[in-house]
Symmetry: C2
Subunit: 649 residues, 2 copies
């Protein structure tokens, strides 16, 4: 047998060496990222709970077949139900956040009920209806499991175009739920294939022959005792997917299925005993709840990137390749190669940007929802509330899209940076990619969301031109006069290492690309196109504007977050923040040069400072990923273990 | 049960409508892409052979477990052996090309023997040794299966750093193959876990205490009759991977395994009975064979992109979403959305660029190898041959990297463009991604290859500065005087729709980025760094130069190819070619603006012409993917079927 080489102790030594470089208190940064010390302790307790729960063992997950994975997923329910019934809602939410990093497939299966089904109840049911369903078991999940039946095989992101009908039968005081065509088949419904007892079904409300658009109905699917599928309901399994095989996606067809009138969720639109339909005055207020999922996905993109980067950066700190002339024989650490720093450090910076932005967005969302819940017609600040809602709606659309794309790309780049090992299932990055990929499609296809964000930017531009004061996130469009045509005064590479310069750079460029898209839109209108067609025509410019706006927004939130800090953490994160801003500029150099904020010489300053900052951040890279504070159990990859002992692991 | 909607006939009608738009003879384009009519017919016969071979059924592949897949893979061997033994080498190569598109996992398993093991024999064995191993069964594969043991767990792309030793024992006239450390374990070896009888092992040659670098040895692993593992050999299974589960990757450790001296392959370096080592005079000539794999991967990137785009574009031609105001109620085809055109048409153009380049590279490679095989010291044109070899070596390194990256990204973008269906295993794009991803790592990690390509560009620049005439692919570096500082004279969007303008644009920008990297390198040298360290320091600039050079090279080969054509095909492909050139410029706008070949106004011309060309190419998109001529069996996705009947399929 080969002897244990002395080389095997080098990895552990390398890791300790890197850890010793910390210029800041790692624990303090963990508290900051988690919220506070208590939150960190709670998270640590949850990670331990899961690690010692035999139902949550994860080390063998890559070798299970689809049926085995699904079975284990179902077992985990029992474990989580225990906590659901015994701990506070806030603690349970934190638990779910950890679960989403440990086992995204299971998280989805649980989240379909807990997030989507219960979420649909919360946003669409009257208080009385909510109480009714909670009593039926929707909260405690005793013999009750909900699924979320929105998507149809012929209709993805087009909710108004759904074909399933809900026709009011006044005589029976019932709704008749029906699938009129094959393309109306509910498709891709998580939990439907084998587990769900109830579905929140999105269908066209038809009363006395008149259509009132898509509303939400609760439809029982299976007998809660015998678990038999109910009459008129046809369910099938969608089978194997790219990832998340723990969740049993299925299809559902309804053949004249009758439900009581009260099973229509009537918080917004109401149908009376005799078929009078009362529609809400403030339609906009009905979609506030949609945003929750998007905000959660910004946070999730940050969290999953944390995990991927912990693996890739820890591996790069101990993996050595090719003997460098400086090292006198020992091969060089991957992390010491400038090109490897270039591969990973900007992604680390981007992850921090997403984490700071996620925290801020969550706060913004919670404040707004509290305000919305009490909103009444005639409130003096209602305009402002609606304005903030619109901004959050479109900003979160753009951020959901670009953060999930960024995270997916981060996972893949981390995977490739581990060389051949990245292709092995056991190093975890392959499954992470496969599980995460769906985030670019669900809760709104990314491309469609970016176009929504772009549409909002164009209309904001047009409103600003009419003198309207915009919400803060697009406030720069109120200052086009000073921004358009502005050039950077920097004369040396040092000059651009300045928040003011970079914030201005992003504002100038965003102002320009939004203006450009708006002018293109107006030219289409002038040519006689309808507004809808004009928006289609300029969709590439819309997407481009949304992209730069979203990156600028991420940078701004990151700057805001770091500016509040003090001490060594502030010093280190300032470099990370500058790296993000500059890297994102370099990556979109075309726009910055086209609108001449930066000259060709100044863009070289940007490039050279990205190199410098990559080196600086590289020195703190291990302490920074340590601050993510993910246990080896959560990481679940021999390449990412904290002690660096990769070859033995 | 839901009735069959009249909507279900719309997809088939839509597909026919699109097909009728063809402005060129589809069949003729197929002949062109395949080589000629005979090649197309052969390919069609092979596709049919495979389709009716029960061992090659593929429709249920996504539901098989890893052991089932491996078992089926082994069964397919029998089928292919039949052809290997009964048809010409050229026909069999074509068959393997089709197999690689149908079942990449199996193709790898077969390719490990046929491509890598036999390839290693062909490039490293003397004619006598080759005959010996062929007679032993290496050609007919009767009770003989080879694997390729290069990579070690601690050493990926660093071949000179491999640790396995091959020590000559003069008394016994044998080599002793040994794994001295854990990090020297041969890792990731395809076919080793369960099937291979022999391995071509790369190990450090040690004779009389002196090391001569890495050479290739044939080492028997298993008894060819009993299939028992031979003494001194320890083999294990690496298990589950991201994709290609058909191939049984394993690890191998050798404990003083003895082989006859003649099992060292001695085409280049020779070891005599008494331990005299004779090394080759022309070291460079030994690595010509390395290039075969890289060239094949450029071709493969084109082929796999064909398949992904056939699925995504056919689906986009029949999938309808949201009612457009122009269509009077019927929802709009995805393909009619400008943003969807923007997503797919540039990728289609890029695929053609890779296909034309692949054809040209294959020709170049074959000519060069013929020349190399007869090369002798003292040949008057030897310098020129070595120059061409160096160019092909580095150009193929850059192309391998960027084409595999492009293809992987094409698959993912096609997958996302199919919305939720893209996440289902049955639509095929998920597995295509998982199978293809490894191409970015094997046969040289992409990042390392781009750096090699960049290093060659810098050294070419420096040689040109000394007055040396360079090989054609980097010939523009002989014209820096006229290229640097040149600006585009275009004054209207029309002016840039010109091969001359675009070819010049690429040459000017490549000249600039290569010069920039070379100056950075020279500045490092001036600061006192060693050449190796200087190359590391400027690795980001090297990568950037290699990227633009590779894109420029792809465009140039595409222009060369299309320029030879006539008639309607030439008209249509000219638009595809211009789209590729302009899209690649838009995508790298920063460089074109930084070096001021295009002004900000001209870059807007580029953007607007990309929009125009996307629309133009969109009209021919279905005829163009039809010309790829992949049967429904090869496509193996309900979304990509030729008749467009997606919902029923």
């Amino acid at each position: 047998m080969p002897k244990l080489s002395s080389k095997l102790v080098i990895p552990v030594r390398s890791m300790n060496e890197e850890r010793a470089k910390a210029k800041f208190n790692i624990r303090e940064l963990t508290f900051l990222l988690d919220g506070d010390e208590k939150a960190t302790e709670l998270k640590e307790r949850i990670m331990l709970d899961l690690e010692r729960d035999p139902l949550f063992k994860m080390h063998d997950i890559h070798d299970l077949t689809k049926p085995q994975i699904r079975e284990r997923t179902l077992e985990k329910y029992r474990s989580l139900l225990h906590y659901l019934q015994s701990e506070s809602v806030d603690n349970f939410k934190k638990r779910m956040e950890v679960v989403s990093m440990v086992d995204p497939g299971f998280w989805t299966r649980f989240g379909v009920h807990y997030g989507l089904f219960v979420g649909a109840l919360q946003s669409n049911a009257t208080p009385g209806q909510l109480g009714y369903w909670f009593e039926k078991g929707a909260l405690g999940m005793s013999n009750f499991l909900g699924c979320f039946a929105m998507t149809e095989i012929g209709h993805g992101s087009n909710v108004p175009g759904l074909e399933t009908t809900a026709t009011f039968d006044e005589a029976a005081d019932q709704f008749v739920i029906h699938t009129p065509t094959l393309t109306a088949t509910k498709w891709w419904i998580g939990g439907a294939a084998h587990s769900a007892t109830h579905a929140s079904v999105f269908a066209q409300l038809i009363v006395k022959g008149k259509r009132y658009g898509t509303k939400c109905f609760v439809v029982p699917l299976r007998d809660t005792k015998t678990f038999n599928i109910l009459p008129g309901i046809n369910i099938g399994d969608i089978g194997k997917k790219m990832g998340r095989d723990g969740i049993d996606n299925g299809y559902i067809q309804f053949t004249n299925v009758r439900i009581p009138r009260g099973y229509m969720l009537q918080k917004h639109t109401k149908v009376s005993r005799h078929g009078e339909v009362k529609e809400p005055k403030l339609q906009q207020l009905t979609y506030g709840a949609l945003l929750q999922g998007r905000v959660a996905m910004v946070v999730d993109s940050g969290n999953v990137s944390k995990k991927a980067l912990t693996i890739a950066i820890r591996y790069a700190a101990v993996r050595r390749q090719f003997a460098g002339s400086k090292s006198g024989g020992i091969e060089t650490k991957l992390l010491d190669y400038p090109i490897h720093q270039r591969r990973l450090m900007p992604l680390l910076a981007q992850t921090f940007a997403m984490l700071f932005t996620g925290t801020e967005m969550t706060l913004m969302y919670n404040n707004m929802m509290t305000r919305l819940d009490s909103a009444k017609e005639g409130d003096p600040d209602l305009d402002q509330v609606v304005e903030a809602l619109k901004e959050t709606h479109s900003t979160s659309a753009g951020l959901k899209a670009f953060c999930t794309w960024n995270c997916l790309s981060t996972i893949e780049q981390c995977r490739q940076s581990c060389g051949g090992h990245g292709y092995s299932a056991y190093t975890g990055l392959a499954a992470m990619y496969q599980d995460f990929a769906v985030q670019c499609t669900w809760e709104g296809d990314n491309t469609i969301l970016t176009l929504q964000a772009g549409r909002y930017l164009i209309s904001s531009y047009r409103e600003a031109a009419k003198g309207k004061k915009l919400a803060p996130g697009v406030g720069y469009l109120n200052h086009l006069d000073t921004l358009i045509g502005k050039r950077c005064p920097a004369t040396s590479p040092q000059d651009i290492l300045d928040y003011n310069v970079l914030v201005e750079a992003w504002q100038v460029i965003c102002a320009n690309v939004v203006k450009n898209a708006a002018l293109e839109f107006e030219a289409c209108i002038a040519r006689g196109l309808s507004a809808d067609d004009a928006y289609e025509e300029c969709s590439q410019s819309r997407l481009y504007a949304a992209k730069l706006h979203s990156y600028g927004y991420l940078f701004q939130r990151f700057v805001d977050g770091v500016s509040k800090l003090q001490g060594n953490i502030a010093v280190v994160l300032r470099e990370v923040c500058l790296l993000y801003g500059l890297y994102a500029i370099e990556d979109n150099a075309g726009a910055f040069l086209q609108y001449e904020y930066f000259s060709p010489t100044q863009i070289e300053f940007v490039r050279s400072q990205v190199n410098v900052l990559c080196k600086a951040v590289r020195d703190q890279a291990i302490p920074l990923v340590d601050a993510f504070n993910l246990s080896d159990y959560v990481i679940n990859s021999p390449l990412g273990c904290k002690d660096g002992n990769v070859y033995v692991n």
